[in-house]
Amino acid sequence: MTTVSLDAARTALSSACGDVTDAGPADAVDGVPATLVARPGSTAETAAVLQAAAGHGLTVVPRGRGTKLSWGRPPERADLVLDTSRMSAVLDHAAGDLIVHTQAGTLLADVQATVGSAGQRLSLDEAVPGSSIGGALATNTSGPGRLVVGTARDLLLGVTLVRADGVIAKAGGRVVKNVAGYDLGKLVIGSFGTLAVITDAVFRLHPLPAAERFVTVPFGTAEDAAALVQTMVHAQVVPAAVEVEWRVDGAGTVGVLLGGTPTGVEARTAATLQLLGAGAEAAETPPPGWGVLPWRDDADLPEVGLKLTCALSGLAPVLDTARRAAADVGVPLTLRGSGGAGVLYGALAADAPVDAVAAVVERTRTACTAHGGSLVVLEAPAAVQAAVDTWGPVPAIDLMRRVKEQFDPERRLAPGRFVGGI
């Protein structure tokens, strides 16, 4: 932007929203410097900001608490960071109806504290500490609990969006059952801010379990891990989570979470110990690393963070291939994730040679794809990002581009962050 147009844009934004500042180094988006930051306090202010941005042709990167801005690809430009952190209120917790209505900038942890006081929870694990609701939705994060309750798409009932042109739109509602109109909530989940800005959301809640128990068992090979996972998912003990961890040193653990009533959990824990056989142990507290993404989040030199998915029957070959691919290029790999749901996360060291990372990505992606899944490079140093295909092959990409063209024909919302350069 020229100085003149920047001044004009700043003026327009300031009249739309009281909180507009020049961006600093900390506002850069995945290495791309931002110019301005607006912090609207309401949906109406968000709409006004987006209208002003549209009027001045500004690219806009929505930001919640900024914990996952480095995921995906860097945006082509970041003229304006639209920060939702001032929209941080839990608007309504209807405990009797097991729903919560919250603004998008609210910390997931704050929502949990509010609903937790009534013995309820939003069954969306906080995969990245400090996440806002909007950020968790936009990146579709999930954790161990996804096995039974699913992910954001299974919990979100209603959503308020502001489009790139500043138009406010709602979809869904405040009741748990509703088939009126298109489910735009599902469309924006995982869209990385490229379709619209989420300003508030309604979720269904679940009762907190009265008791929880964790059962862990070691494994040595990919086949063993997959067999243990199969045992658990076909059992009738209804595990709330079936996790797999394979550490750099080769130590593997399958972890099972059981939640329910104290007597029920006790009986199911006994059944699970029997099912998993020798070496299985029960504990009151989660094993180390439970539900934590395996890569170290360092702003200066991030580790490589991968997300792997596959059909459950592909778990053994995917685990095995990833492990071998890393070993063959001499790069340590940690794998951890919801094996029972066909989701794993992988971490490679930040200083791993780019070629080596690319080789691991390519071989592992081939295995994931062969088993109905995918591999996405969520987090990576710039050199790696430049050398690998971040998102991998995306079926129906033409249709996705057409959706993007309808919602954001000028490509001003987080351009370039998402699949196929969207």
């Binding site: 009797g96 992910t151 138009v167 109109g181 995982g190 998912v233 059992a235 009986a267 066909g342 129906a396």
Partner: protein, 518 residues
């Protein structure tokens, strides 16, 4: 608005009864006859003669779905047997600007499969193969014409079942379920069709075949599948569906609980949910619905009950025992006078028979009725049920209530005799007022039957013009020509502007070598 169900002897009203707001949905017979003929030629070249229907008498077989109040004879019916055939027909429709409507088993209750007089009805009943039940993956891969209950039948031997269970599950199709995001009694615990469809092969309204989702979760890119499920056939036609199958529970307990009033039964429902127990199902029937069910299927529900709850608990035995104790206590605290536990599969089936046959059973006590479908916050149940009772007594129109109490999904059955002058109109008014009650309590105008042609006019009561416009951006992306089930869901179509084609220029990132084009 709303579906009028006559008994078999009562012929439903015909075309002339379609209200003005719905005529845009039906088209004019004879419009674009040349285009329809061209589609017919394409279809005949690909399919056996029995798969392409243009004889006027045979066409009338398809003039309505489960919402028999609305009838339109389609210009052409095709019954493809493969994805390729179906896609070729859709491509021909796109090429000639002919609207098409997809139909599975035709059991929908909102007129979603109401044909177009100037269009093609594409029936999926010959695509009825269960391709695979993949136990290791906990998935089944299905063609769209597969009957809902057949999925469970195919998976039971492996210890699995398909959870979404609309009352019509013995005849409704998976493709129709996907289009409508069908629910059922057990979605309280297990979720709706959208929670169970993990992948689909979709024929887009331009005739392209695309794969959305699949065996693995979290496919990269937009969750187009999540938007397609429940879009009522306006974004394309699913030609396969990959669905989750769920492990059969270790134990199931089905209870029938009698209460003096719907107030008591509603309060018990709220207390159960509030206690942290999540039953697989909590269904309520009021006295009039019980009377109808007794007359039809002799289900032997408790004498003198003002309401019954059918409660099903399932899961590990140790949890079910605890839940049963809680439910029994809470029902007693809220005035239940009889609680029966089904001791075997026969008793369980009888309890469910009363519930699942209730809609049809109402035909025993009333020559005609409207099935309404609205949602309210569960805690508003007693208040809304009283308001419905007030509406009924002030209008003299009888209303039977059979519904998914745990979800707050009401199915008031508004009874009338169409032979009596004005009775149909009075029933329509009451039915509409019930929907207004749902909206004023922060609810939804449909929980599982869909908007279709029936409630399109109600959409502006729940959504603003901007909301509807934004939804239709998706429509424009998928169906720029507006030929996929036009006139359904949205009261007014959005003009899509320029039909988007291929990108005029390579994407900048592709040009820069930073991303691949796929």
């Amino acid at each position: 608005m709303s579906g009028t169900h006559g008994t078999e002897t009562t012929a439903g009203p015909v075309l002339g009864d379609i209200p003005p707001e719905a005529t845009a949905a039906t088209g004019e017979a004879g419009d674009n006859a040349a285009g329809v003929a061209a589609v017919g030629r394409v279809a005949r070249a690909l399919m056996p003669t029995t798969g392409v229907i243009s004889d006027p008498t045979e066409l009338r077989t398809y003039e309505c779905d489960g919402l028999a109040h609305y009838r339109v004879t389609p210009a052409l019916v095709v019954l493809p047997e493969t994805t390729e055939q179906l896609a070729a027909v859709v491509r021909a429709c796109a090429e000639h600007g002919v609207p098409f409507v997809a139909r599975g088993s035709g059991t929908g209750l909102s007129g979603g499969a109401l044909p177009r007089a100037d269009g093609v009805l594409i029936v999926t009943s010959r695509m009825r193969t269960i391709r695979e039940v993949r136990r290791a993956d906990q998935r089944a891969v299905l063609e769209p014409g597969v009957i809902n209950l057949d999925v469970t039948r195919a998976a039971t031997g492996e210890g699995y079942y398909y959870a979404p269970d609309p009352s019509s599950q013995q005849i409704c199709s998976i493709g129709g379920n996907l289009a409508e995001n069908s629910g059922g009694a057990h979605c309280l615990k297990y979720g709706f069709t959208s929670n169970h469809v993990l992948g689909a092969e979709l024929v887009t309204p331009q005739g392209d075949v695309v794969q959305l989702g699949g065996l693995a979760p979290d496919a990269p890119g937009y969750d187009l599948l999540g938007t397609v499920v429940g879009s009522e056939g306006t974004l394309g036609i699913a030609t396969t569906a990959t669905v989750r199958v769920v492990r059969l529970p270790e134990e199931v307990r089905t209870l029938l609980v009698g209460f003096r009033s719907t107030d008591d039964a509603g309060a018990a429902t709220s207390a159960i949910i509030g206690s942290g127990v999540l039953p697989a199902a909590i269904e309520m029937m009021d006295a009039l619905a019980i009377e109808a069910a007794e007359a039809a299927v002799h289900c032997n529900y408790p004498d003198g009950a003002g309401a019954v709850l059918v409660i099903e608990l399932d899961g590990p035995s140790a949890e079910v025992q605890h839940e049963y104790d809680v439910v029994e206590r809470l029902c007693q605290e809220h005035g239940s006078f009889e609680l029966r536990l089904a001791i075997d599969a026969t008793e369980r089936a009888l309890i469910w028979k009363g519930r699942k046959s209730a809609f049809a059973a109402v035909g025993r006590i009333s020559p005609d009725y409207i099935v309404q479908d609205g949602v309210i916050p569960r805690t508003a149940l007693p208040e809304v049920l009283r308001a419905i009772a007030d509406l009924s007594s002030s209008s003299g129109v009888r209303v039977a209530n059979v519904f998914h109490a745990g979800d707050g999904n009401l199915h008031p059955l508004v009874l009338f005799d169409d032979a009596k002058p004005g009775a149909g109109e009075a029933a329509e008014q009451v039915s509409g007022a019930i929907l207004d009650l749902c909206i004023s309590h922060g609810g939804a105008i449909t929980g599982e039957h869909g908007v279709g042609v029936d409630k399109a006019a109600y959409m502006p009561k729940m959504f603003t013009d901007d909301d509807l416009d934004t939804m239709q951006l998706v429509r424009c992306a998928f169906d720029p020509g507006g030929i996929a089930n036009p006139g359904k869901v949205f009261p007014t179509p959005r003009l899509c502007g320029e039909v988007p084609g291929k990108r005029k220029h390579a994407h900048p990132l592709v040009e820069a070598g930073l991303a691949d084009a796929f």
